[in-house]
Every structure is written in structure tokens, then in C-alpha cells.
């Protein structure tokens, strides 16, 4: 069923009896050509592009819980393509372009809102670095603007401009950045994939791989064995766990990242703002809640909850930047498990096991990557060649010395 304004009016006049479920509750078949493990944003997007762009059929997405229950439903929904390095920027700009056409492509309102992202500058050195980054963005076809302190004051007068320790000296702005309704991304991709015959199998945990003579034949799941021609693993924070079942160690540590949302307020924030001195970033959701977060907790974790020191640190950052939020009450906080890679950049590649493909290492920036990641992973699964925008995301780049380290922090996952 296509969604449209007319449809809404028609359903309103006929008692809303015509809406069906957005996707089927599929039961596993014995064999598929493609099995995608993980019904998060990346897995569902992969299935959608495999079916739509690469014309493949007989595809399943297997998800251990419900779709959207992982990080795709836990993140702070920021999208941007403001990277510096060659391996990254074309990929994220491809993602931004796909976001811009996403709702038409999926026939689903994902509330893509390009309200802009402002990265604040607090030192002269930081201005130099951001100017360079802005130039790299422009060279790759993205948009970037450098604002003076006076410009920032005009656009965001509520920021603390009297901070002697961390004065606001300007900002790097990407106007096309913004936020997207995260759940709707999972649901929209699921519905679009389902409409092309993809089986979305929930409550189906992969518990092992059947591998013979270096080739993967299928997956063992909590709902029985499923044979597969090719298997793509896109399980985000669970990458270490799942790939260990195929006998693989990864250049990845799992870490917990927390996020927070306040009570609903009238519109107070024009877009996304990030503090360049402490680690704090904030936006306002369409419901009015301030959505914000900060650093990783910093130690390996598979628990989807963090500890209080980070809460304190995030709130201090918030108060230093925007004293007006001091009286706002916190509504909810939660944690998600990040697959932090050794250089802070992702992996989309074949593995040493024939027929098994890996997509992971997204760290805390994988939401904005969802469309491009799905596209590139579908390309790889369909053609056995890396997509042009994802050529640098090799699994063996740590062995060959081709790291993509935006932060320059070295092989220390909790610093990226």
C-alpha cells in the first residue's frame, strides 16, 4: 500500500480500517540467496538496496529481538557529512545525498530535517583545523561555512559567550546536516524491503555458523538452521560476539555510549550544536525534548547502560555551554553498545570465510551512515566488489597500515 495525503484523507473518512501492517511477520524458510544478520538500520537498508538497486531476490533479514531495538532506535539521530579524510568524506556525502531523497525512495516519512549542525570553535588552533576540514568537505561536494563569533551570537544567542576558559570564537556549520526520526528509518527501510519480498524475521537469534572447507553454508538460529548463498553480518555493537562464532577476532572493542532526553520544551534550539571544548552535543526533537549526549563511558561493555560519572560530565558540559538548560528536567537516559574500531572508522568488506561479509565498526557515528552503508554493503554482496565510496573500509587495513584515523588518536578505541 502506498502512503499519501489522499490515503490519509480516505482512511480518515472510512474509519481507518484500511491500514495494514507495514511489513509481514515472516517465518524462516530453509534457504535464502542472501541472509543479512541484524535488523538494525544497516541490515534493513542493505536488504532494501539489494532488492531495489541490485535487483536481487530471495533475501532475509534475521534479527534476534525486534527491528529497531538496537542502536538505530537508541542514537541521538544526528546526520552530517563533515569529515576530513579522503576515505570518509565521499562516503558520508553519498549518505547525505541518499538522506535527501530517502522519503521519496521509501514512500515513508522519516522526518529528515536539515536544520543544520554547528560545531563550535574555542581556540585559534581549532579554527585552523575546522577551516581545513571545511575545505575538505567543499572539495568533496559537501557544504561548509565558517562563522565568526558574532555570527554564532546572532544564530544562537543563548550560548554562554562569557566563558573565559572556553570562549566561543566561531563555528563550522553544515546547513545540510540535521536530524532524522531514527525509528522511522528502521520502519521505512523494513516496509520498503518487505514490499519487494524481503523476509524480515524477528525473534531469531543467530547462534552459530555452518562453515565447511572455508565456505559458509548457513546460520544456526534460535528458530532453526537457515541455509544461505551469501551472508552479510551487520550487528553493530554485537560484531565481536557474532564474528567470534565464525572464528574471527576483529579490530574492534564494544563500548557503551549514553544519551539523554529532557522534558518537552517550546522551540529553543535552531539545529544541532556541539561543544568543541568539552564533549557535549545537543539538538531538539520535534516533540520538544532536548536530546543530548557526550563521551563514551570508556571501558569494554556489552551492557546497554552506563555509569554516573559520564552523566555528570555531560551535564557539566551542557551547563558550561548553555546555562539556560540548568532548570530543565531530565526525562530519560539510556545506553547503547558501540562497535568501536581501532581507527574510529568502519569496515565494509569480505572476510576470510568464503560467502561471509562483514559490516561494522561504526562507533558512535553509524546512524548518519545508514543509507550509504546499506548501499555499499548491498553492492559488495551483489557484485563481490567494494562500492566506490567504501573502498577504504577494508578489514585488513590495520595490517597494511592504511588506517583512517580522523581523530589522530591511534589504536585506542575509547579515544575515537
Amino acid at each position: 500500500m502506498r502512503y499519501s495525503g489522499f490515503r490519509v484523507i480516505k482512511e480518515a473518512l472510512t474509519g481507518h480500517k484500511g491500514w495494514g501492517p507495514a511489513w509481514r511477520d515472516a517465518a524462516p524458510k530453509p534457504h535464502y540467496d542472501f541472509v543479512i544478520i541484524g535488523g538494525g538500520g544497516h541490515g534493513l537498508a542493505t536488504a532494501h538496496y539489494l532488492a531495489k538497486v541490485y535487483g536481487k531476490a530471495n533475501i532475509a533479514v534475521v534479527e534476534k529481538g525486534w527491528i529497531g531495538g538496537g542502536n538505530v532506535g537508541r542514537n541521538t539521530t544526528i546526520i552530517r557529512s563533515n569529515y576530513l579524510l579522503d576515505g570518509n568524506e565521499p562516503f558520508y556525502e553519498h549518505s547525505m545525498k541518499l538522506w535527501e531523497g530517502l522519503e521519496q525512495d521509501l514512500n515513508y516519512n522519516a522526518m529528515v530535517s536539515q536544520r543544520g549542525i554547528m560545531n563550535l570553535i574555542h581556540t585559534d588552533a581549532q579554527r585552523d583545523a575546522f577551516r581545513r576540514r571545511g575545505n575538505a568537505m567543499i572539495l568533496n561536494g559537501a557544504d561548509a561555512e565558517l562563522l565568526s563569533a558574532a555570527d554564532v551570537k546572532r544564530e544562537a544567542p543563548f550560548l554562554n559567550f562569557d566563558n573565559a576558559r572556553f570562549p566561543i570564537k566561531g563555528a563550522l556549520v553544515q546547513r545540510r546536516g540535521g536530524s532524522v526520526r531514527h525509528d522511522a528509518v528502521a520502519w521505512g527501510y523494513a516496509r520498503a524491503a518487505d514490499s519487494r519480498g524481503v523476509d524480515i524475521i524477528q525473534n531469531c537469534e543467530v547462534t552459530g555458523f555452518r562453515i565447511e572447507q572455508g565456505k559458509v553454508l548457513g546460520v544456526e538460529t534460535s528458530r532453526g538452521y537457515i541455509g544461505a548463498g551469501k551472508i552479510g553480518c551487520a550487528v553493530a555493537g554485537s560484531s565481536g560476539r557474532v564474528m567470534a562464532m565464525a572464528g574471527m577476532r576483529l579490530p574492534i572493542e564494544s563500548h557503551v555510549l549514553q544519551a539523554f532526553v529532557s522534558e518537552g520544551l517550546k522551540p529553543v534550539l535552531p539545529g544541532v550544536i556541539t561543544f568543541g571544548a568539552g564533549h557535549f552535543y545537543v539538538s531538539q526533537s520535534d516533540k520538544g525534548g532536548l536530546v543530548f549526549g557526550g563521551d563514551l563511558d570508556g571501558y569494554n561493555s556489552y551492557a546497554q547502560r552506563g555509569n554516573l560519572p559520564v552523566v555528570e560530565d555531560v551535564c557539566e558540559g551542557g551547563m558550561a555551554l548553555m546555562p539556560m538548560i540548568g532548570r530543565v528536567r531530565l526525562l530519560r537516559m539510556w545506553g547503547g553498545v558501540m562497535d568501536m574500531s581501532m581507527d574510529g572508522s568502519p569496515i565494509i568488506d569480505q572476510t576470510p570465510v568464503d560467502g561471509l561479509y562483514f559490516n561494522g565498526g561504526w562507533c558512535y557515528g553509524g546512524f548518519k551512515a545508514t543509507p550509504a552503508s546499506g548501499y555499499a554493503f548491498a553492492h559488495l554482496l551483489a557484485t563481490d566488489k567494494p562500492h566506490d565510496t567504501a573502498k577504504a573500509y577494508r578489514l585488513d587495513r590495520f595490517r597494511t597500515g592504511r588506517m583512517i584515523d580522523e581523530r589522530g588518536a591511534g589504536p585506542q578505541p575509547n579515544l575515537h
Partner: protein, 95 residues
Amino acid sequence: MIINHPLLGPRDSQEFTYLGDASLMHRPDRQGENAGEAFYEYQYQRDNPAGLHRELWYHEQGDRSWLVVTRDTTTHEITDVKLARDVARSEGRST
């Protein structure tokens, strides 16, 4: 989290910085046969277990000792804390 320091007793984990898997104590021999491959495994590849994890914490805002903490990564429960020096010696390192 509270880390029960073997010398100083229970300390807030905020006083520490975290390095990672305790296998990082065992740096490969740089003149060994397969040094390149061994360093690659050592530096970049991780077991990343869900469950008990032996890991290195540095008491930066305390006595500056390195500790080996055994912690469950699914619950954050800490079950064992030792001085890294003692662990290294018991695992055959002299210095």
C-alpha cells in the same frame, strides 16, 4: 563502578584511566621470527568477550599503579583486582 585496589582499598573508577585487554601486557618480541604479524595481532586484534574480561586500569589520580581488573562486560561486576606487576611476574615476566 568501585575498583577494590589491592593496596588502597575501594576507589571510585573515575580515579583511573582505562587501557584495554590485559593481553597488552605481553608485548611481542620485536626481533622474533614473525614480529610484524605478532605486533599486528597484539596492537589491533581483540577478543572483545561478552562476559569476563581481564583488563588494564591505571590509577592515574592515585598511586599510579597499573591494575589487572577482572570484570563482567555484560553486568560491569568486578570479581578480581590485582597489581599488574604481580600478574606479570606470575606469568613469567621478570621486569
